[in-house]
């Protein structure tokens, strides 16, 4: 699709317009993706470190009510939850984060459709930003993405110089947005931006995901799993910071003697109680089995089911791990 240019001042004015029009604007600060009310707080650096967590919580909240209830003497009244999501613009999504909705969408829509997810996703505009950051944990290139991947972005920004960004319109949704705010953009062409993206340093490819998939199919039983299991603390931070982990719990919360809400809360497959049966039996009773589930779910089961790797290569799970478990290293070792 077409390419435009926006300078920094126009970008700030665009952001002001987005907020003035009643939309949510979300952008990364130095540690997390946050709702922006004051555009002077905006930082938009392609060299920035990835935030601690992805912006998953804005489409799949860490805790959200799915129904409200009121108890009478024998009766119960149910009250619906209205998601009522405003148009939300994510500005400055790393390509690894931008790809997350493409992956999650399958899970929330096979057969049963989770409208809590869908209503939010539908109202999102993802403005991705080329990534010039890379550390020892990054491996987007091993899972079919790259620092210049436009996958999942509606609009993709490439820093041209100190003052200007190339603006690539990727999807129809992106075009509609760019048309609406056309006054902030000038016409661009791909010559310069192509030259810039071609020079971006890519993380080295750490593994071949097809070979990993094949190895996992043959190595459900392998002593390597117990090795990782012995290290892991079962804290599940890896799932919470992940852009595509999606396990959840359903829990009731009373907030008065007669009223409460049923919540859908993030959960994690590394917790021991996650699969614990009422009888005491637990199919994934030791940490090695739980880690095996984590890796298999990401690199085999999800691929078998939906044709997508359940991983964007952002490296957050490893960056944040208290006992330095490095998913890139583990998956790279999924070979004989």
């Amino acid at each position: 699709m077409e390419e435009k240019i926006i300078n920094k001042e126009s970008l700030l004015n665009l952001c002001k317009d987005i907020i003035a029009d009643g939309n949510n604007l979300i952008a990364p600060n130095s540690t997390e993706y946050v709702l922006i009310n004051d555009v002077t707080q905006l930082t938009l650096e392609s060299t920035a470190r990835p935030t601690k967590a992805s912006y998953k919580t804005f489409v799949f909240p860490k805790a959200e009510p799915v129904i409200y209830y009121k108890r009478g003497k024998n009766d119960v009244q149910l009250l619906d939850v209205d998601v009522n999501q405003k148009r939300t613009v994510i500005l400055g999504a790393k390509p690894c984060d931008a790809n997350s909705f493409n992956i999650l969408r399958h899970l929330f829509n096979w057969d049963y459709k989770d409208e809590f997810y869908n209503q939010r996703e539908k109202n999102f505009i993802v403005i991705g930003l080329m990534c010039s950051f890379s550390d020892e944990y990054c491996f987007c290139t091993s899972v079919g993405s790259s620092p210049v991947s436009e996958k999942g972005s509606d609009i993709f920004l490439i820093p041209l110089d100190e003052n200007n960004y190339a603006v690539r319109i990727v999807t129809d949704k992106g075009k509609e947005f760019a048309d609406k705010y056309a006054k902030h953009f000038t016409q661009g062409d791909k010559t310069k931006s192509d030259e810039i993206t071609s020079k971006v340093k890519h993380p080295e490819t750490a593994f071949d995901s097809n070979q990993v998939h094949e190895w996992l199919g043959k190595n459900f039983e392998n002593p390597k799993w117990d090795g990782v299991g012995d290290l892991c603390l079962s804290c599940a931070q890896c799932a919470f910071v992940c852009p595509v982990c999606h396990c959840f719990d359903i829990v009731d919360e009373d907030y008065s003697y007669t009223e409460g809400r049923r919540m859908k809360n993030w959960d994690g497959c590394q917790f021991g109680h996650f699969t614990l049966h009422a009888s005491g039996h637990n199919p994934r009773d030791i940490q090695g089995k739980r880690y095996r589930q984590r890796i298999n779910h990401k690199f085999k089961y999800y691929v078998d089911k939906f044709g997508e790797i359940l991983c964007t290569g952002c490296g957050r799970c490893s960056r944040g791990c208290a006992v330095s478990i490095d998913i890139k290293e583990i998956v790279s070792n999924c070979k004989d």
Partner: protein, 277 residues
């Protein structure tokens, strides 16, 4: 907005105390339109909830051929089942379902059916038994073998009496050695032993088996010795579930979601899965 997490409201029409720690609820969906539109098949399950306590997963224990009530049976184990136990007739609970696949009752037509159940494992088998009995002419010989730890642990006493009173069903009830009481006229012995003793013919026969893992583990070899093919042995798995919709991530065995691709599997399918259940 369609809400896949929103339960139906159901009234507890009757409570049956099966054993000291197992109860059966006869339920009626409160909204007449929902009740009228509701259908399910034998083997499917649902999420039952006490508002303020949470949801719990059980099979639908009644047969779809008897739509007057939806029945569930539960043993008191955790938070939700304890809360369910405290409820009374006339109280309201949440019901979300039906979910999952079902027993291939069409495929079983013209065959003999052998039912083997242990303990509360009779609940998911009972819906199939009653369904098959309501379509009795479509099936050949029907044999039911049920085992409980002791006489006081036997569930569905009334249903068992009905089955035993029918000349066209062979019903054998056994209790574990030491579990018999005075006047017990049934068998004494573990389920695998009794299956071996009764030795139902494997010829043109499908087996439906559900019970504690240890019972299944020792009964399968007996069935294989009797000549049952793995394709012809069906069971239902009861992994821990929350959503029932193939999303929350806990019931999977390999790339199979028990809540969507199951809970009913034949033994060939189970052997192909990673052994993690």
């Amino acid at each position: 907005m369609d809400n896949i997490y929103k339960p139906y409201l159901a009234e507890i029409a009757e409570i049956i105390d099966e054993t000291p720690d197992t109860k059966t609820f006869k339920l009626k969906l409160k909204n007449p339109e929902e009740a009228k539109a509701f259908t399910f098949k034998a083997g499917q399950f649902a999420e039952y909830s006490v508002f303020g306590e949470g949801e719990s997963t059980f099979c639908i224990a009644s047969s779809p051929t008897r739509p007057e009530y939806l029945e569930c049976s539960f043993k008191v184990y955790g938070k939700v089942t304890q809360a369910l136990k405290r409820l009374n007739q006339g109280d309201t609970i949440g019901f979300r379902g039906p979910y999952g696949n079902f027993f291939p009752l069409e495929e079983l037509k013209g065959k003999n059916v052998l039912f083997i159940a242990g303990g509360i494992g009779l609940a998911p088998v009972r819906c199939v038994i009653d369904n098959v009995l309501d379509w009795r002419n479509d099936y050949k010989d029907i044999t039911i073998i049920y085992g409980a730890r002791s006489v006081s642990d036997i569930v569905y006493k009334q249903e068992i009496r009905e089955w035993q009173s029918r000349p066209d069903v062979k019903t054998v009830v056994t209790v574990d050695p030491g579990g018999e009481s005075d006047g017990w006229t049934g068998e004494v012995g573990f389920v695998p032993t009794i299956v071996e003793k009764i030795a139902p013919s494997a010829e043109n026969t499908f087996a439906v088996i559900c019970g504690p893992p240890v019972m299944i583990k020792f009964t399968i070899p007996v069935l294989e010795k009797l000549g049952f093919k793995e394709d012809n042995i069906y069971t239902t798995l009861e992994n821990r579930m929350k959503c029932g919709l193939g999303k929350c991530g806990r019931c999977n065995i390999g790339n199979v979601y028990v809540c969507k691709d199951g809970p009913v599997f034949n033994y060939t399918q189970l052997k192909e899965l990673p052994q993690e259940f």
